[in-house]
């Protein structure tokens, strides 16, 4: 893979980009291919890690005294801000219980299938998704379970206000993985919220974190699917809502269980 990558990469040897990357100095056209390379290059990741520790020291050297009002404002804001859930939970035991060894090739195959399908939608999306999924593979077993499930199904839809939402779902795992790309940037008072909507109404399924690099968000995991539900995205106040307060900007109807 790295051979292909090198030929395609106009910046030359990708290894030399680790320093620029650690300083967020790799601009968009080069970043996605570099991140893709990074996902498969442990020594590069380690180099980036070491360099980030060095740049953190640069930041420390520029410390200034902050205004006291900032502290009050931030501490107050945390009282009204919901936290993101940890990336790993439910699946750990199920994962460990599986017979050793067999899952890796199966997961790789499933990932490859999903990525091939995504690539058909958008090449750019696939680059980013590959990177995200590689990270997810390590840290989020639920994502891996859903993607590795024999009944994994991928559904995509355009978001009304811009961007593309993609769901990979598995009835067997009763969970889905949500990602989106190129969502419109919202004012800081607003945030995207994901919902799982069934006959009984909409349940909050998490705030969509758009703080990451680039325009890709997720993967977010939604567990506890039932038949006849749909996934919706709405724009809510930044602190989140218990019920949708605006019309959905995308609705993805989940496939019925087979």
């Amino acid at each position: 893979m790295s051979g292909t990558y090198r030929r395609r990469f106009r910046g030359g040897d990708p290894h030399t980009l680790a320093a620029a990357y650690a300083m967020d100095a790799v601009p968009e056209p080069d970043r996605a291919p570099f991140e893709r390379h990074l996902a498969g290059c442990e020594s590069c990741r380690q180099e980036v890690r070491g360099m980030r520790e060095a740049t953190a020291a640069l930041a420390a050297a520029s410390a200034v005294r902050p205004p006291a009002a900032l502290r009050d404002a931030v501490l107050r804001a945390t009282e009204q801000t919901r936290q993101f859930p940890p990336p790993v939970t439910r699946a750990r035991t199920a994962w460990a219980a599986r017979s050793g060894g067999g899952w890796r090739p199966r997961l790789a195959l499933a990932l490859a299938c999903v990525l091939a399908a995504v690539a058909a939608v958008s090449g750019v999306l696939a680059y980013r998704m590959q990177n995200r999924l590689d990270q997810a593979q390590v840290r989020d077993h639920t994502v891996a379970l859903v993607l590795g499930a024999p009944d994994a199904t991928m559904l995509s839809a355009h978001v009304r206000t811009g961007g593309m939402a993609t769901v990979v779902m598995s009835h067997r795992e009763r969970a889905l993985v949500f990602t989106a790309a190129d969502l419109r940037v919202l004012p800081s008072a607003e945030s995207y919220e994901l919902w799982l909507t069934g006959p009984a109404g909409s349940k909050p399924a998490g705030m969509v974190d758009v703080s990451g690099r680039g325009k890709m968000v997720g993967p977010m995991v939604v567990s506890g699917l039932s038949a006849g539900e749909s996934v919706r995205l709405t724009v809510e106040p930044a602190s989140g809502s218990q019920r949708p307060t605006s019309p959905p900007i995308v609705v993805i109807i989940l496939t019925p269980a087979q």
Partner: protein
Amino acid sequence: MTGGQHGPRSGPPWPSRAGGPGAGQAGPPRPADELGDLLARVARGDHEAYAVVYDRTVGQVLGMVRAVLRDPAQSEEVTQEVLLDVWRSAARFNPELGSAGSWVMTLAHRRAVDRVRSEQKAAERELRVASAVVAYDEVTEAVEAQLDRERVRRCLGSLTELQRESVTLAYYGGYTYREVAELLGVAVGTVKTRMRDGLIRLRDCLGVDA
């Protein structure tokens, strides 16, 4: 003020202009995972732990963001966003991928740079060439009293001029490596190599672990 209630080891990392008691005494280095332990508590919704994390990181976040953005009001706004991000994303901090301090500063630097790139027009950015270089001078001036700062300055000073300029323009200036090449009038490949050599030298000089 805020630092005192957590004991001397958690004192604010920004320079004390008044030069009051304790200023300049860096004390023994904190165990690297202490901030990480605090983040684990923050991930469970612990507001007290968050306040400590805030006090330990805000000065660095604001200082770095200001070095990149220059505009004080915007810098405070971004700093606020970053620290709220730390609250929200604490559960996503993975100690296997680096220290807690570097995690926070990476979040902060990305936000600052994203803000620069999304809001600043090309023409305006030209004007920041000078100020990015000034940022480095300010840094070296501000670092005098404190051990950590002294060390960083010494280590920055051990870089070649081109290495140092490449690193400071990228990190404090928020420029891409291609822009840095343009600003310094050297080949893109040269800048990449200088950045790498510079950061490796800096990393080794500072003795930070990956």
